[in-house]
Symmetry: C2
Amino acid sequence: MPKKVDHQQRRTLIADALMRVAADQGLEAVSLRHVATEAGVSAGMVQHYFGTKDEMMAFALSVVRERSQIRVTEAVAGLGENPPPRLLLRTMIAALLPLDEHTRDDGRVALAFLAYTAVRPSAAPSLREDTAQFTAFIASILPTNDAAAAAGLLALMEGLGVYLLGGQYTAEQALDALDAQLDLLFGGTRTTDEP
Amino acid sequence: MPKKVDHQQRRTLIADALMRVAADQGLEAVSLRHVATEAGVSAGMVQHYFGTKDEMMAFALSVVRERSQIRVTEAVAGLGENPPPRLLLRTMIAALLPLDEHTRDDGRVALAFLAYTAVRPSAAPSLREDTAQFTAFIASILPTNDAAAAAGLLALMEGLGVYLLGGQYTAEQALDALDAQLDLLFGGTRTTDEP
DNA sequence: TGGATTGCGATGCACTCGTATTGCAACTGG
DNA sequence: CCAGTTGCAATACGAGTGCATCGCAATCCA
């Protein structure tokens, strides 16, 4: 077995390039050659690691999901053990919002994939599962234990993300809206040090 | 001046075809020839009415926005004069959600355009204005007059739309979440006849 | 009735696309 | 040391893209 090469590393390298292209030119600009150029490799190599374009897209989507997970767990890890529910929720949701220029890129890619999977339902189940898990978790720590309220909070997060990307809301406005919502859900008393 | 033809009608005919293509194959499948075939006309004619593809896209986007407006005003018109604020809000928001199979198509197109304009900011200002107007209106009829709460409600609507399209939420779940939110905003007493 | 002007179909052009195929260099296990 | 496997570059191909151009038919104003 000659030439040991880290396949996973190559694939994520390519996926990174794909996400860069998608972030500032849209998913429709993602082609084998574009991605290859962006990654600084030959088009043949991309083809070597991803037999087909759909495979490449699927992998990139999995990377996006994975990164979101990581962002959330990292943010939560900074809270120490047994954080108050409201702070926990706020931290998790804020971690998923495209608030700064860097996370905006990821958000754009995620939004592009959202529209992408809306038409190619092959990857939809996994996204559905993510959402279901998240709603269940939110409901479990909400004081009311209300499934509808949990679904609403998650939807609010998604909408904030969309409007942040579209430039309709500023980061401040989005966080204000989030905090106002948490006020509503947790009874109107602010328990965290928000500006 | 020969051959009087209703330009506007032709253009909306073509835009309709575009939206049909975009609804079930995605915006990336939208090409001059595809749209022409879907519309049952020649590719040359599409080119005749839209000098460039971007122009066609821009027009289609304007049609999408216009249709949303119409849907809302029609729904509101069915309420009679001076409807209670909560019912008014619920009606308007529900009219914008992709709740049935028919409005799902429109929603898919809107979502596709959302991702599209996230990368081509040329059409973003108009969307921004729509959102700003809507938030201002919502804030004006909310009992708390809270801008953040209004922004949150709108974001919640957008998120519900996204999740409805993705299949994460059913129509019932989405409406439950909306009603739960209105409960929160209007003080917890249901003033309308919801199931 | 006769230009003039418009509507629109047809064709061509220069690209880009995804994928299949080929060839070769590099490396490693025996 | 060399056979064999693997990594990767290059190329070719057919299909599809947006757009420019041409040509002709239909129509209206004079």
